[in-house]
Amino acid sequence: MSAGLFTRLAADGIKKNKKLYIPYIISLAGMVAISYVLYYLTEAPAITRMRGASALWMVMSLGKVVMVVFSCLFLLYTNSFLAKRRNFEFALYNILGMNKRNVVRILLGETVMVGSMGLIIGFAAGILLSKLFELILVKMCNYPADYSFYLSVKSIIMLVVFYVAIMLILFIFSAGKIIINKPIELLRSTNAGEKEPKTNILFALGGIGLLGGAYYMAVTIEDPLSSLNIFFTAVLMVIVGTYLLFQAGSVFICKLLKKNKKYYYDPRHFVPVSGMIYRMKRNGAGLATICILATMVMVMLGSTGSLFFGLNSSIDKMYPYDININSVGISNYEEWKSLSPDMLNKDILEVFDYIKPEDVHFERYENFVALKNENGADFMKEDQNILPGDVANYMMVEVQSLADYNKNTGSNLSLEDDEVFFLSATSNFKKDVLILSGLEYKVKGKEEGFNFGTDVVNSYRIVVKDIDKLDRYAASENAQKHLYATWGFDTRKDQDDDISRAHALEERIHDVYIRSKAEERLETTDMYASLLLLGIFLSIVFMGACAFIIYFKQLTEGYEDAGAYKTMRSVGMTKKEIKKGINSQTLITFFSPLFMAAVHLAFSAPLVHKLLIILGLSDILVFTLSYIICFAAFAVFYLFVYKKTVKAYVEIVSA
């Protein structure tokens, strides 16, 4: 037989079954397109140049992992459904006189056609979408638009290899089935029932274990820096755990329900429970994917949203005054000690002609990098590097002289040589004696909740009478230290005035770092807006993917279940009872991913909050609110999709 015939038969097969093949090709193309966009955004030069690109990169990399896992499982699932239908035709060809080699050639033709259509459409859509994404992102962040055409060839090759490999594996599966089975068995396999899935206790326990572990890690995390370390691990654990749980755990639960005779043989539960045992096993992957996509959408929107909306409080914290001046690179202790509070006043008062000398606040402190221990802290030495195990104890000890403290706060504190006044910030100390690398101080007094610097690193401040002595001791210990001096004042003017005067001041004073809060706010707004925008874009993509999976699930299940529902009707099930059964079944199967996603979200909150602290957000209220709003919005979207697709399902099964 000629090769043309096989091609024609393959093309005919696709055309005849287009109700099944079109969603299949669209889903393949959709996955290729989304994967390409994700790969592209991690690589495109226009994006990597942007501020906040590292946060973006993190989100995208995670997205890539999810897409890869998801593509495999989803294609496997849809293909098994497709193959069942196609086997009938193949068996018929076989019976009508084609040998198995010819049938396999037709199958190969189909796979090649479907695969290449999916890949070509997918890449076309992906390339267009990625450029569109990039343009909008760049535009929103006020970068010059870059209309040059960048094609991520590396990504294309990687994705082509990946998807061709998946298609090849699927082809080998299907071909193997045709070769091994007798044609008559294939004929029947279209109608053959599924075997009842076995409960895999190991999988169920593994899923619960992984999730529990990840939750524990996320909840017990204390300092933001280690959160970066565990973030990827925790996310991977959650992804794998969710898949295991949906695959095995749900079957396990349904079987328990089935064992309870009184519960099971109730008209309200009978059909749904037995249906779910099959559903969950085959759709575990689909449900787990919905759950993970939902979690990603909510985390993404929640975190980017809270960054954006929590912006003001973050800026206020990082920039205490309208105009902030920091010393740069003072390494000599004597030079630092001799800095005078009013040394910049001449320039400041000339540029900001409405400011009085007493409005300018001066602060000076010495900062030691240290490792926390239960009696205090040990200075890190100059040649010492931080070890991974010490990340959680990493901290800053800020030291201020009593004279500076009294002057700045207007207080009248007095201390002995061996006494400190303790100011807690992101870190606290409860004992009465504080030992710094062997140097002992009595804690004379305390002020809680002192608010300075950043939340990223654990820190507290101590006030000592004789800072020279401490500095000499630290120097003898070869401690890592930084010397800081800051000037700041509030202007209460509009932002343009602040920005232009700050720039004018910059022209006059060179060895300091001058920032106006107004300009900083503008720039941060820019960056966070771009992050939020990206979050919204990706959410739309993922939500679209979610909706598509749900629709595809309902459609395929509808065709599968139509026969069973017809039987139930003829045995005497009323339409109302059928609807009720469908409702409770889909309600449970559909809302289990949303429920799991809510649990994931709740447990991820402490970890994500810590990560956001690194980016400058500390307002827990804004964070919680954005999380809740995102969940509510997603739930509404989900409900909408559910309503729409259940209708499609009911129409199919009651036709």
């Binding site: 109730d266 008209p267 005497g572």
Partner: protein, 252 residues
């Protein structure tokens, strides 16, 4: 006393634009006595499946009435039909129509569960029926694990477990091999002896020869009927064959 009375039953199918009218049933009259075993025969397209679907309340006639124990089935509201069916009728299909996701036991329980019966009562009802049909050992298997004949016996058990007034069977032997066919026909005869009224649609002469009475449908009307009387299977078989030959030659 007759359990079923079919009176001037008509069914006309009209194509969507109303240009084509097909009269599937043109006025069917017959009745079935309690405890009878009736087979309805006819060629494809003679209207026998339409008739059975109307009797099973799966379809509505264009005219006429069907009385089951004096109650007109035709008047039953659409929404009450399913409940009426599960309370009064048992239905055996040509292709078994067992649900793949249920074990044989749960398939048989389905109508009882729909009625909201207690699990213990269900088990009590199942035991004797399963024994009679020889499927006691198969109850925990799934439909794909048993043979066609076993599936059909499970389907019969599902039809009988509600203790129906009337057992309707649509080509019950159509998908079975000859051994399973014999077994199933034996089962039908046995349950008929215990008093179960059976109405079976078939075009298998062999299946019909087991019935006590055979109705022949042609062109939408009951054309002829045959009583077994004192005839044995062979005689009955021959009588049916002769009638069919006569029918196919178009004699009126």
């Amino acid at each position: 006393m007759n359990i079923l009375k079919v009176d001037d039953l008509k069914k006309t199918y009209v194509s969507r634009l109303g240009t084509n009218r097909v009269d599937a049933l043109k006025g069917v009259f017959f009745s079935v006595e309690e405890g009878e075993y009736v087979a309805i025969m006819g060629e494809s397209g003679s209207g026998k499946t339409t008739l059975l679907n109307i009797l099973a309340a799966l379809d509505k006639p264009t005219g006429g009435s069907v009385f089951l124990r004096g109650k007109n089935v035709v008047d039953i509201k659409e929404s009450d039909m399913a409940v009426f069916r599960r309370d009064n009728l048992g239905y055996v299909f040509q292709d078994f129509n067992l649900i793949d996701s249920f074990s044989i036991r749960d398939n048989i329980f389905l109508p009882l569960v729909l009625r909201g019966e207690k699990h213990k009562e269900m088990e009590a009802k199942l035991a004797p029926i399963a024994k009679q049909l020889g499927i006691s050992e198969l109850l925990d298997k799934y439909p794909y694990e048993v043979s066609g004949g076993q599936k059909q016996r499970a389907a019969v058990a599902r039809a009988l477990i509600t203790d129906p007034q009337l057992l309707l069977a649509d080509e019950p032997t159509g998908a079975l091999d000859s051994k399973s066919t014999d077994e199933l026909l034996d089962v039908f005869e046995t349950i008929n002896k215990t008093g179960q009224t059976i109405l079976m649609v078939t075009h298998s002469t062999k299946a019909a020869s087991h019935a006590k009475r055979v109705l022949f449908i042609k062109d939408g009307v009951v054309f002829h009927e045959l009583y077994r009387g004192e005839k044995n299977f062979e005689e009955m078989y021959k009588a049916i064959s002769d009638t069919l030959t006569l029918l196919s030659q178009g004699g009126k």
